[in-house]
Amino acid sequence: MAVVLRRLQVFRYAPGAPERTQEYPVEAKPGMTVLDALVEVQQTQDPTLAFRYACRVGMCGSCGMVVNGRERWACRTLLAGLGAAALTIRPLYHFPLIRDLVVDMAPFVERMKAARAAFIPKDAGPAEFAAIGAEAPERRAIDPALECIGCGACVSACTLVGLDPHFLGPAALNRAFTLVADGRDAGKAERWAPLLSEEALWRCHGQANCTEVCPMELSPTDSILRLRRRALASFPRPPA
């Protein structure tokens, strides 16, 4: 079988050094992913190349990066699916750079905290888990918005996060929706305050970039619009 040589144009960054793009040739093998290619580069050509990964099978979300202009998980992106031209590989946008393709995910966590994204149980220490049936309306509303694994792809794709660093962003608002819609949660009153602030629900312009790139096929745009409708439905009273 003829060897296909692919060129990876990788963003390089180190604090204090000029940013640059470095090109690496890689022999593309059948079934090779972008992560496989980066690992091969690191092992055979350039041990200084920095990138983050853990599970390699699309479960942890730590290898999120921008490949050919789109946020993707490197471990789930086949070289064969990216055309024949040179690949551009860049770190996620809107996160502080640490080195090369590695970004600091702390702002992601900060946004979650600002959105009060932790479940607050109504009953203190229930003996058993509260059960919500599979056909319950709240379950049907929440289910499509669960399963976020915090890869940051949506935050990177969101134009508004780029324009307003204080915007809570799609992941945190999606998480907030799952809690607002959850009848077992007791934190709604304190959660609505940040959600109704200038930097949250009303800042979204509905471009749906987050929905387009989410590897888990969630729709943060949909969650944001649902929260807005809840807020408007109770106006002028505060939403419950």
Binding site: Y13, E19, R70, Y93, A208, D222, L225
Partner: protein, 108 residues
């Protein structure tokens, strides 16, 4: 002295920054661009309402801006977000049809 961390953003001035710009983004940009263009074209139209190219541009921009606005309203009201690309395409096609119908109808 601590320096500000480097944060990458999509660059509006490079091809890489525009690469993989998505349908929802184009819909948003087109609607805003049409609004800005309308400000200029309305002024031109008021100066002389009988210039055919200005009339055509005005009708086209009004349709583009209005139908993309309608798309946004429908999504706000609860139409599934997964339909947003279909709505975008529908707005463009409907706009073209309405423009053609309107332009064939000369009332003076």
């Amino acid at each position: 002295m601590a320096t500000e961390p480097r944060v990458l953003r999509r660059e509006w001035t490079t091809a890489e920054g525009w690469r993989d710009t998505k349908a929802g983004m184009w819909a948003w940009l087109l609607q805003r661009a049409a609004a800005l263009a309308l400000v200029v074209v309305v002024v031109l139209h008021l100066r002389n309402p009988f210039v055919r190219p200005v009339q055509a541009t005005l009708v086209g921009l009004v349709l583009l801006h209005g139908l993309l606005g309608l798309r946004a309203i429908l999504l706000d009201l609860g139409l599934p977000v997964r339909l947003h690309r279909v709505l975008f395409a529908g707005a463009l096609v409907l706009g073209a049809i309405l423009f053609a119908v309107f332009w064939r109808w000369r009332w003076y």
